[in-house]
């Protein structure tokens, strides 16, 4: 009986999957190992940095590892854009028993986002961290950064539900400590990090309870296998409970509206480089996990028809778009304003998921990328302000646009992209969301997306007004940010324009990813139905 099930699962694996040949057939080359190397290199670099313990070596090793991951992720993405999937068996044990790393367009795209942001932020972090964290902690900072990076990449790469939980914990634990490192600038980072630890661990616990329930009723942890076996038992209460636990657990990690309370503090009090990295990657990877479970493991039929999740996610997404934007307007701290804006932007992604159409899902996945580069730009700009003005409160940065014109101009570009002005990256994803809404005939939804963008106009304008239209304060030394920060900031700012003007690559990759998520799931459901 169980042999039959395992056999079915293996047959399912063979369909449309480029299997890496086992060692018995031929020796594997470097390119065959990319699915694991993309995670392994930063993961190995972390203990290496600690073992060497040399402050001068920490940064080059970290940067080299992140750069390797980016190259590997790009190469993987180009390999799977045709719609194939790459499967890698850890330890040579075949799935569903062994741990499988399974790369398709969706997770390769997420890995490109994460590693690209890491590569862009590291040169900037070198200067920013030197000012915000004492020198004796630099080695550990880099080790933690690498662990967070490896964890996030691992979450994306793996095709095993429990392995995903392990990587989620690796990245989360590293992140809590990175946030707490903000305590050298502001002691409130400690309570915030503790708060984040409690909420994040609750989320992870809910997630692993859900995985436990699924394992109890299916006897497998492999996601493709789970998808088949879940489709065979539609009325199973244990699976329903597992589903609920997983959604709430990931909702905490995603910062879905009522579960977002950890986010504003964590982004506000973390060191500037960490804020930029987290805002651009951590919630994005959590959104990916949500997508993976909603579409691949449970399948759209289960998620949106049996559980009617559209009517759970949709109101929460709308609430996030309006309430969080509204709160952002009344902030007096630039970083906190951006944090609330992040919650609102996550609302857009959830909206794209809840609408359940190819266009809207593509919009949500493109928004992962576009929002990542937009928020990274803005948080990096604020890091430069913090370096020169000593704080991120509006009163610290009054009139700073005149003394730091280059930094502030990049900030304006980021702000415009946040609003979704045509010609910036933010426009592309909002346009797709509006199109998705119109396709469904939900014209009111399209209006709501535009209306919430108007709220973004208000809070972005407040920032611009503070930076440009107030008289600069005289009592602080104000110079332009150093080139080591300015160049990465401008690379990010220009990329928001680049991906706003030529959106073929991002929309194409996200479209393939959305297709993989929607069709892959339904194929599995069909083959599962045939097995009845």
């Amino acid at each position: 009986m169980s042999g039959q099930v395992a056999g079915d699962a293996l047959a399912g694996h063979a369909a449309g999957v480029v299997e890496t040949a086992t060692a018995a057939e031929r020796a594997l080359g470097l390119a065959d190992h990319l699915p694991v190397l993309v995670v392994l290199v930063p993961f190995l670099a972390a203990p290496l940095v600690v073992l060497l313990g040399a402050r001068r070596l920490a940064w080059p090793i970290t940067f080299a590892a992140a750069f390797f991951s980016l190259a590997a992720a790009l190469s993987l993405l180009s390999g799977v854009l045709g719609g194939d999937a790459i499967s890698y068996h850890i330890g040579g044990w075949a799935p569903p028993l062994g741990i499988e790393y399974r790369i398709d367009a969706a997770n390769a795209f997420v890995m490109v986002i994460v590693s690209a942001i890491a590569v862009a932020i590291l040169p900037y972090a070198r200067t920013s961290i030197a000012a915000e964290i004492p020198a004796r902690q630099h080695v550990l900072f880099h080790a933690l950064f690498l662990l967070a990076l490896a964890g996030l990449l691992g979450v994306a790469a793996t095709g095993d539900a429990f392995n995903l939980f392990v990587f989620l914990e690796i990245s989360s634990l590293a992140t809590y400590v990175l946030v707490a490192m903000g305590a050298y600038r502001d002691k409130r980072a400690l309570t915030t990090a503790f708060n984040y630890l409690l909420m994040g661990t609750t989320g992870a616990t809910f997630f692993v309870i859900g995985i436990g329930f699924l394992y109890m009723s299916t006897g497998t942890l492999n996601m493709a296998d789970l998808a088949q076996l879940i489709a065979q038992q539609p009325g199973n209460r244990t699976i329903h409970a597992g589903f609920a636990f997983i959604i709430v657990g990931m909702g905490l990690k995603v910062a879905m509206y009522p579960l977002h309370l950890w986010l504003p503090g964590a982004y506000t009090y973390a060191p500037s480089a960490v804020s930029a990295f987290l805002a651009a990657t951590a919630t994005k990877v959590a959104v990916y996990v949500l997508l993976r479970f909603l579409f691949t493991v449970f399948g759209p039929q289960y998620t949106f028809e049996a559980a009617e999740l559209t009517w759970v996610i949709l109101p929460l997404a709308l609430l996030a778009m309006f309430a969080a934007s509204f709160i952002a307007i009344f902030q007096v701290n630039f970083k906190k304003m951006l944090a609330y804006s992040s919650i609102a932007q996550i609302g857009y992604m959830l909206l794209g998921i809840a609408m359940l159409s190819q266009t809207a899902l593509t919009g949500a996945i493109v928004h992962l990328f576009n929002h990542a580069i937009t928020k990274a730009t803005l948080f990096m700009v604020i890091g430069a302000y913090v370096l020169r003005a000593g704080g991120a409160f509006y009163r610290d940065i009054e009139g700073i646009g005149r003394v730091m014109p280059w930094t502030s101009a990049a900030g304006v570009i980021g702000g415009l992209s946040l609003i979704g002005v045509p010609g910036t990256a933010g426009f592309v994803s909002k346009w797709l969301l509006v199109q998705g809404a119109l396709e469904k005939g939900w014209w009111w939804m399209a209006l709501l997306v535009v209306a919430s963008s108007l709220l973004a106009v208000v809070y972005v304008w407040k920032g611009i007004e503070t930076a440009y239209l107030r008289a600069p304060r005289e009592d602080v030394d104000r110079r332009e940010a150093p080139l080591t920060m300015l160049v990465p900031i401008w690379i990010m700012a220009l990329s928001t324009i680049w991906f706003g003007l030529s959106a073929e690559w991002t929309v194409g990759a996200a479209g393939t990813a959305a297709e993989a998520l929607m069709s892959g799931a339904s194929q599995l459901l069909i083959s599962g139905g045939a097995g009845h």
Binding site: A27, L28, H33, L40, G53, I90, G91
Partner: protein, 146 residues
Amino acid sequence: MRHHLILRVITKILAGTIMLFAFYVQFHGDYSPGGGFQAGVILAVAFILYGLVFSVETVQQVMPPWLVHRAMALGLLLYAGTGVFSLLTGYNFLDYTALAPHHPEHGQELGILLVEGGVGITVTAVMLSIYYAFVGRTPVIGDEEW
């Protein structure tokens, strides 16, 4: 603890025995699941007990904090390095067959031994560093720091 003669004598006798037991659990890992984690905790217990009775400074002469930090990284590298070895010799990551291609079952045994060794080293180091962090008194936060 100077006047607790019995505790001091018993600790000196027990510390070695606990370590021996830790190694027994470690090397029994080939035959039964687990091993590295439990052995690491038990080995750390020997040091922690010694530290509790004979002061942290004494135990830190044997196990200085810098060594503990390095050991943490070393164990992880040993584990991952085993995987990288099989990766470099043309097998999948962590495929222990690579360690003895002509006798795959010997390769599995050797692989488990190395990997569990890495786990043991890291767990010992992590347990010790948690202990050091708890007993190491943090400086009192001054008023001006708030």
